[in-house]
Amino acid sequence: MPTLSNGRIEVNRVWKRFRADRRRPMLAEQLALAVRRAKRDNPWRWVLRDLDFTIEPGEAVGIVGTNGAGKSTLLKILTQVMYPTYGGLTVGGHVGALIELRGGMHMDLTGRENSLLYGSLMGIGRKEIARRFDDIVAFAQLEGAIDRQVKFYSSGMQMRLGFAVAAYTNPHVLLVDEVLAVGDAWFQQRCLDRMREVVQQGTTLVLVSHDLASVQAMCHRGLWLQNGMLTDDGPIREVLTSYRRSVEEFSSEHLGHGGSVGVLKVEVGGEDGRLLVSHERLEATIELRSHERSRGRLYLGVSEGPGTPTLLVSTEAILEEGDTKVTCRIDAVPLPKGRYYLWMCMESVDDDQLIPWHPAGTFDVFGPDLDWAPLGIVRLSPVHVRSNWEFVESNGHE
């Protein structure tokens, strides 16, 4: 095996397939399988197709994609617990994985015994883990409970212990899967802080998450997987933009049907049809058709793609039978330059969905870019505000 500089990952035309019918490992199924094999009827399904990329030492790479796109499979192959069917891969140096380890714990053993076991499974000796033990316990906030049996831990404590051991193995490559989906907000921030430390020490980071904001906060480069294929590979902002756009396109195909009020036309822009610029007035014009007199609340939301809006406005609305043209003006829109999606819905007084929550259109904002956030700090939504800075020296010299 050729030696590779530590922290470098080479994925060379990797293909991976599973059986489409998830066979169960029982005698009857195995016999049925043998029969089918004899008939040359092999229902394989490709979950990764021709992945080909290189990650340099010290890079921080985020992998995004919808459920079932192959992210977890790719991560398992990078961890080398799973082998590719075709292709090859080399990972330089020691690989650590920051993953949910709760299932692997032995409930009858204490936290201390479990962490010693994990340490040696992850390739660090008992002596080494004993040396870092205080850090691990502090990270997991288990000071009082480390010598208690794990079955008496809360589920949060179990999760924290699993992460804490993995976080202190000091690998050359750190793989992180959906850490940010578990634990309370405070623990999530500690995980992000720890990842930042690790990246600053020159460790290669590969992060898989559905939380796009934290991916953007941690990573410089993005890989977008779609149906097992590498759709996009580039600077994280660009990859996330195209990923969000595709999520929105998908949503608009699958949402927005089945309300009793129809949306005929949506236009978003600046005042009087001009271009929309940051901190100026946004004007949304919506034409609605109602088959009866409807009363309810009309909501408009603005997002970067997914159905979780950055800002949301609403109003009481009474629609007479027939067509109604609604104009909504938002003063001084605090959005930075970019493409946004207008989502809308209408609910009647008794919570009926007159219009379901759906993306009704897109619009562009012109203006300044957002300021950079420090590495590892998650900015939940893009809001642009003007700021003034003043530095006054006051060190006592006259």
Partner: protein
């Protein structure tokens, strides 16, 4: 952005992923990960006796009870030739040796299946799991040997000097046991029925092996040789008794036959294990 249409329907055959399956590289990898084996065995040992009131004493009580059962059943209805050795010592010696094999077989059946969560997430050579099952059974056997020492003292006996052959006999048993452990542990991942089948086979094995009776009273020399090929535990247990209790050297012909089968099983076991091990994460 990549043009996804340029990706072919299926990969070119020459890209097929291959791994090294060699005997040497497997052994080296296992040796470099000996601390993992230790940790796994340590975990299972602690977990097994953690909440048992009598703790490790069970490693002695278990074969002792069986030896007593044999005394009141087999001994009563059959005239077992023990060359003047008290039957309880004679039976306990066989049960200690058998316990190492049956403990390993039972432990190996569950060692991969019960550790799915780890196997899916942590990169660690899979051989360490059956290896840990062997070590764990070994620890239990060592404890039950303490029980044997106590029984020897009660009867005021000493092992014969021929007991110097015990390491050789144990090597044969170890090769056989490891071979079985490797095969059972990996095949059960693909065939879960084995979880039910193995305990039954182990129980049958206890009676198919001369643990409670003397094989030379049942089979002619020719059949004994044939049976030694089929069940290496038969000459192994007989050899332990000959050396430790009677003071004779082992019958090399029978032990050699068992050793040959054991070696084939070990080499085949490593092959099968390495071949099937690649698919573990796809399945569990």
């Amino acid at each position: 952005m990549r043009d996804l249409d340029s990706i072919p329907e299926s990969p070119p055959a020459e890209l097929r992923f291959r791994r090294r399956l060699g005997l040497v590289s497997t052994s080296v990898e296992l040796w470099t990960n000996r601390e993992v084996v230790r940790s796994l065995a340590d975990r299972d040992f602690r977990a097994r006796y953690k909440q048992a009131f009598l703790g490790v004493a069970w490693a002695v009580i278990n074969p002792l009870i069986l030896a007593l059962v044999f005394t009141f059943t087999v001994r009563r209805f059959a005239n077992v030739e023990t060359e003047g050795v008290p039957y309880i010592i004679w039976a306990y010696t066989g049960l200690v040796a058998w316990g190492f094999f049956s403990g390993t077989a039972t432990g190996a059946t569950n060692c991969l299946v019960n550790n799915q969560a780890l196997l899916n997430k942590v990169k660690v050579p899979r051989e360490t799991f059956p290896a840990a099952a062997v070590v764990l059974a070994g620890i239990d056997t060592a404890i039950s040997m303490l029980g044997l020492a106590v029984i020897f003292m009660i009867y005021g006996r000493l092992p014969h000097t021929q007991a110097v052959w015990v390491p050789v006999i144990f090597l044969v048993q170890l090769v056989f046991t490891v071979g079985v452990a490797l095969i059972v542990s990996i095949v059960v991942v693909y065939l879960r029925d084995l979880r039910q089948i193995v305990p039954i086979l182990v129980q049958i094995g206890l009676f198919a092996t001369p643990v409670a009776y003397n094989i030379s009273q049942l089979l002619s020399p020719g059949w004994r040789l044939a049976y030694s090929f089929v069940n290496p535990m038969a000459p192994v247990i007989d050899s332990y008794r000959r050396t430790i209790l009677y003071g004779y050297p082992p019958q090399w012909l029978y032990l050699g036959a068992g050793a040959l089968t054991s070696l084939v099983l070990l080499v085949g076991g490593i092959r099968i294990f390495k071949r099937l091990e690649a698919g573990i994460a796809d399945l569990i």
